[in-house]
Symmetry: C2
Subunit: 422 residues, 2 copies
């Protein structure tokens, strides 16, 4: 099996000197197989090339932002046209109003919009708006759900204080009794129930939302006056052309958006219904680049493509083909692969693989065959993918399962994931 | 005096329906004179045009991001070239390592860099890194200093809990005794002293840093093992080609950067010295767009222009001309104008103007003459400004002072700023 390329190695050595730990955040490959490249040089459509010239069909899609293909000509043209006219100025442009109107027209619960940069900006604003609206403090969240990397929500709490996590009560996703228990525990202080649109925690199987759970969350908010928040930063636009919980018939009061809403250009959003407008107008939230017009122009074009093309049906069909085809090839090689979550945002985990040695070996084998998959984080399909790409992926998978069958008996534990089984 | 244009009015009416309160954050004109336009359509160099076609010489420079001129051809070309090759991907590009090297080479205290999007991301990361490094909680800050709009620091705390502000002790900027008192109060729990590079609070006179105060902050950190943080998000690169406290001979352990480091393209940074590297490598901070390559390419070009041109000496000379010229013209008209802060980031306040009626009337008169000034927030010069622009500004100021002299006796209080005198 090929190792890292020399350009990647050289960049890692330089980074070791000037970036703490060599890399940080979700794009660090520290918890990926050793042969995963850290640095990339080029991308187009559904493909990217690392700094050593190796090309991959990319099932991470930049961890979500790539919805219509890297370097999408129409979206990027809208971006550049706006950037050359007016981008980060002393005030907003008309694009901001147009984009708020576009979201309000598209997302059924939304009566207003506020724009920001990070997904975490939007989730933090949702928390603050809910607290301002209710004049209460407690938020109920599902244990293990990712809502960003601010002190109140980062999954690895080095440097975080107990107070940063005050007024948080946790329930289990899709477990109505635990939700009711958490709400009861909040008593008369419940400000909001936060919900991921589906359970997309890392390292474990994903779960689609149970409609009864979603309806109960809505009821509990209606009964207590708390706000229901759906955090659609990761899943938005890959499940529905509306808030993702529209698929289970439940409207939140607030929803948070980011990642792919401008096909990778930096913008996120908090959308809200009428009830929360007053509170939203009283909080002070801002950022130097939040009023930038170019990402808004890119978002306007992205949302038009969302409305006017069959991108969603297309990636759903490709995702279904991928799921069926992988199941067949895994079974044929004697493996049981659990494929969970929406077909457009799949996660693959092997049965009987608690320390992920099979997952790591298979993912590496896929990488060697030009397919970039992630062994423990949900993946993302994009509308630039084709049936030919799925064929290529399934052929690669056949080879990778065969390879895994040959080496499986001799695999050692994955040391960097030892915490999973500790 | 002309009122708002019809396009601006129409956009405000539409925004009223889809944006809470019509606008939010620092670019809302709610606390500016009524004739200040909310929406802009175009910008180039040091000038911008509102949606009704009126042009302005812009002394806000997008609240800082515009350092080398709007739409700077060389910086934007670097951005677009990178964007078309590789921007937001499944991993970073070599630009990230190059940019970290560029900052480490340029900022004397820095041994490493981490990149993010908002200024608030960088200040929040500084707080978390200091707490992780010291395993203590308390941070000392100057009262009234702006460090961002997250719950721990937003200046208008609707929706913020007491716990969000836990472990914060306030001192008075440039007041050594109050700093020592705050540090003593922190006892053995001091994690960090935060400092703005100079006092640039809104509504009041600015103050340059007292060298003895800065040195004392350094000493107190050395004695206690706390980290010294200079928040250079707003002032960075307009005071020095290094951290702004290099002008008083003091090196922090952490510094935060943003706004103009990519001339308006969205990127911010936390820089740190060796002592904080370990802690920085253990915190989990990230964002969907933090690894974007195009803003990094723009930052690389911006930093090259910072190193290789006389931009700083040029804006310092223009700022000094502006300060002297304004003083002369104000005096000639019988007004006393307090001009504070660095000449590249001036603030103008009238004597005997507690409710800012003179400031509002004069700023409006400047606006009518095509000069966009801010009545209560520090302004920013950019390297696209020329001696001709300063001449134009001084001519406009002469007319505006004359106008003010005529109307001053009849001015009523500024209702929207009533809180200043309440």
């Amino acid at each position: 099996m090929a190792g890292l390329g020399s350009n990647d190695k050289a960049l890692r050595a330089r980074a070791e000197a000037v970036i703490p730990g060599g890399m940080y955040g979700h794009q660090s490959v520290a918890l990926l197989p050793d042969d995963y490249p850290q640095y990339f040089a080029r991308a187009e459509g559904a493909r990217m090339w690392d700094v050593d010239g190796r090309g991959y069909l990319d099932f991470m899609c930049a961890y979500g932002p790539n919805l219509f293909g890297y370097g999408h000509p129409e979206i990027n043209a809208a971006f550049v046209r706006q950037m050359e006219t007016a981008d980060a100025l002393t005030g907003p442009t008309a694009r901001m109003v147009e984009l708020a109107e576009a979201f309000v027209g598209m997302v059924s619960h939304a009566d207003w919009a506020m724009f920001c940069k990070n997904g975490t900006d939007a989730t933090s604003m949702a928390m603050v708006v809910a607290r301002a609206h209710t004049r209460r403090k407690t938020i109920v969240l599902a244990k293990g759900a990712y809502h960003g990397s601010a002190p109140w929500c980062t999954p690895r709490p080095a440097g975080v204080t107990a107070e940063d996590r005050a007024h948080q009560i946790f329930c289990s996703y899709n477990d109505i009794a635990s939700l009711e228990e958490a709400v009861a525990k909040a008593g008369d202080d419940l400000a909001a129930i936060f919900a991921a649109p589906f359970k997309h925690d890392a390292f474990i199987d994903q779960s689609l939302p149970d409609a009864a759970y979603a309806r109960r969350a809505r009821e509990l908010c209606d009964q207590t006056g708390a706000l229901l928040v759906v955090d659609d930063v990761r899943a938005g636009l890959r499940v529905a052309r509306d808030c993702s919980w529209s698929t289970v018939g439940v409207k939140p009061d607030l929803s948070t958006w980011g990642k792919c809403i401008a096909n990778g250009h930096p913008i996120s959003a908090l959308l809200g219904s009428e009830i929360a407008r007053g509170a939203a107008s009283h909080v002070f939230v801002t950022g130097s680049y939040w009023f930038q017009a170019a990402p808004m122009a890119a978002a306007l074009t992205t949302l038009r493509l969302v409305r006017e093309t069959d991108y969603l049906e297309r990636i759903e069909r490709l995702g279904a083909r991928l799921r069926t085809g992988l199941h067949e090839r895994a079974s044929a090689a004697g493996f049981s692969l659990r494929q969970t979550g929406p077909v457009t945002m799949p996660l693959f985990l092997f049965d009987d693989d608690p320390d992920m040695r099979k997952g790591f070996a298979w993912s590496s084998a896929m990488l060697q065959r030009g397919i970039y998959v992630h062994p423990w984080h949900n993946m993302f399909l994009c509308a630039a993918m084709t049936d030919g790409d799925i064929d290529e992926t399934l052929n690669a998978a056949e080879g990778a399962f065969k390879h895994l069958k040959g080496v499986a008996g001799g695999l050692g534990p994955v040391e960097k994931l030892a915490f999973l089984t500790a």
